[in-house]
């Protein structure tokens, strides 16, 4: 893969600057069933389309941020630092 990402702190950089954190998934908030836990740990939606995902500016400011990327074209539609946490945590919680 090869595309550009806009780090919210540093600006446009090559994708090789970044670490990929995978699609944003919801962490169980109360005790999950074994199946739910397995799905959370091991299953991904793997959408063909726009996906919200984590990125880490490994060779830059070392900030984690959120991107919306079209997995079919690698077009990055949006990047942003995570919003303030919700009542039960942040974006992934």
């Amino acid at each position: 893969v090869s595309f550009l990402l806009t780090c919210p702190n540093c600006g446009v950089r090559e994708v090789t600057d970044f670490g990929y954190g995978g699609e944003i998934s919801a962490r169980p908030r109360s005790r999950p069933t074994l199946r739910q836990l397995g799905e959370y740990n091991y299953f991904r939606r793997n959408v063909a389309g726009v996906q919200r995902e984590w990125w880490f500016h490994r060779s830059g400011c070392r900030a984690w941020f959120i991107a919306e990327r079209d997995t079919r074209t690698n077009e990055v539609l949006m990047t942003a630092l995570p919003a303030a946490p919700g009542p039960n945590g942040g974006d992934a919680a």
Partner: protein, 900 residues
Amino acid sequence: VSRLANQPGELINRDKVIRFTFDGKPVEAYEGDTVGSALYADGRRTFSRSFKYHRRRGLLCCAGQCPNCIVAVDGAPGVRACTEPVREGMRVEHLNAQPGLELDVMRATDIVGGPFTPPGFYYKTFIRPRKLWPVYEKVLRHAAGLGVLPKQQPDREWRTEYRRRHADVLVVGGGTAGQRAASAAAERGEDVVLVDEGPVPIEPIPGVEILARASALGYFDGIVPVWQCDTLHQIRARNHVFATGAIEQPLVFAGNDLPGVMLSGGAVRLTELYAVSPGSRAVVATTSDHGLHAAAKLADAGVHIAAVADLRESRSAAAEQLSARGIEVLIGHQILEARGRTAVQAAVVGPIGVEGASVEKTFDCDLVVVSGGFAPAMSLLLQAGARTRYDAARGCFVLDELPPGVTAVGDVAGVDEAGADADAAAVAVPPPVAGAGHGKCFACLCEDVTAKDIKLSVEEGYDSIELSKRYTTVTMGPCQGRMCQLPAIRLMAKETGQSLEQVGTTTARPPWVSVPMGILAGRPFEPAKRSSIHGRHRELGANIKWAGDWRRAYDYGDPQAEALAVHRAAGLIDVSTLGKLLVRGPDAGEFLDRLYPNRFSDLKPGRIRYGVISSDAGRIVDDGTICRIDDDTFYVTTTSSGAGAVEEWFSWWLADWRMRVQLTDLTQGLSAVNLAGPRARDILAELTDLDCSPEAFKYLDGKQANVAGVPCLILRIGFVGEVGYEIHFAAAYGEHVWDALMEAGRDKGIRPFGLEPQRILRLQKMHILVGQDTDSESTPFGAAMPWIVKLDKDADFIGKWALEHYAEEEPATRLVGFTLPNGHVPTEGAVVMDAAGAPVGQVTSSRFSPVLDRVIGMAWVPSPLASDGSQVTISDEGTTMRAEVQTRPFYDPDGEVLRS
């Protein structure tokens, strides 16, 4: 050197002679020559031996497109002589021929081996007896291939560079159309890069960066890698213009691979650019006016044109002009055979549609010029997502749809830059093969695939072009289909009865140009981390090895004695590689409670607790100690190899939870040493005002104090099993603190110890090494650390849900210690077997313990066997041994020494 008179566009400088060698023999050339033009001028006609049949091959395209002139230059194989500029003293050698180019014993494969070497022959001829395959393979591998990579170090030392370039527009191809497109884009104010691989210099264009003698290798998601000399430019442009031109196609006829058969463009290039006559007497075979123009040019340069065979049914104006010069133009004729022993001596032509010796005409000649029409060079466009269709009038596949941001200009787009009229552009589509009865007709020169081979592959069921490609390897050689794709498609259409449209093209894949692996690899970049004390380890003669990115002292010559010194007096080890994180803020305690299965919010300032990081799947990720410095500040150490990953892990959850915590990575900024042993306390006390008594400075206390005048954080921990002080301080003081401790310990028997004795010492205590004793399946329960998991914590924590589940279930295997009575130390990774001999676990660590005088280790064993006194069988590469399980530390099991 025999040359023609001055040619108007020649690239050579006749005042400057360049000398090089070919197979050891001296060759003279002019500056501006290529290796190919110089050798041709020197009289050489055979440049290589073919891949499979070892047939002679000579210059064909003179444009770096065909495989015929591949040689080795200064030991590096895979260089095309026809485009490689001559350099003084360069060493050029032939490839793929034994003992030499002119006498090649493997030629036998062509003369007698024909029936044994059909497509897929290694699955047919060499299948029986099966036992002999290793022998066959060795012989085949030796016989095949295009040269040998140099093994001597000097030849391999070659520094290559990567360069990244962002541009508005990238233009590939510096011909008329490419230059025009680059110039127009630059005038619009755009940042333009123009790439050209040709030998003809391009005049500077304002606002355009020109990469000359550079080849675009492919199109990867908007990046075009461009190879130029020792540099790989990785060019990312918003818009791409491809002006890659069209490639003249050879004709498929008997003996079409004989030296002296040359594409019309090649013959003209030799004449015009290098003033080298391609031959003295030529037969020209063409499907368009292109060959006729070439015939006129060659005649101008003094080549006698014996005959011209024009495949078209009507006589063009160019043909009339040739006739007017007294040149015989045979309309409606095709070439059937090139004949000769080591090079062309005669050509046979005949009228189309009529067969038989009576209508064939044979001409003596030393040059056969062929022009089979042009195919657009679309590979890069196809890689970028362009689609094609078959154009019956032009007899080739042409561009149909282009992706956004991609433009094609010039010949590749079907635009004839010369502006020729419709009549002149008229092309006859050649038959898939002509003169098949006369001898081998090659569809693919790179891989020695004949028209007959493609027929056979269809008969054997490989009836699609992609299957035939994989079976016969047609289009898979160094020319990457430039010379063979269209002929192969025509042959497939003929043999399957399909239209060319139905047969279609094979998928275009990079690299478009043969490229040395070293260019793709780039400059080796192996950053090494060294601690601030590294110089001392070298002075002490340490055995220094890689440990991840770090260079570390494994031992100082005697790991056993070093381990014993820690037990009997004192040892000092550099542990600067430990990951060190400062976690600070009002929420710091709660943050760590959420990250670790155990609790840290209740840790008192000045105290230390061991922690294991688990993933949400309940698996062990890393471990280390955590010292609470004050209410808001925790000092976290991680494993050396996990330092980076733990920092990323912490900051990821912090980004998600948005707690009032600040993370600071101090791994590089701080150094650390571990002073351990019965005399460690005395040594430390000499260098600090701190009360080091066991009552004042207890096990798992963390204190800030000056040591040898340097502000330090001293952690009293026991990784190696003796009283130990892990001293952390600013890296700049590394050697100063090390020297002070060594000096203070001199009369107390201190010894520096390395990583290897540390591994013995920690194994005696069954302190795990994450990644050594654990893997991605290990849970704290299996790893015998259930006490680390505090499921009664109020807060949610990473791994809680999975660990709640694992807490209720008996793990299949558990990590235990074992001892062996005999002296054999099993290999780490040795197998633990059950009674039936089936593998049920493995040894993760094993050492001889000098203080215990026996072999100890740790292993994963089935839970029923994970109790003191159980016997397990270990199989180590054929040796079987009985080990006894032990679940408590081998040394100081109750921690009395540690706490003293």
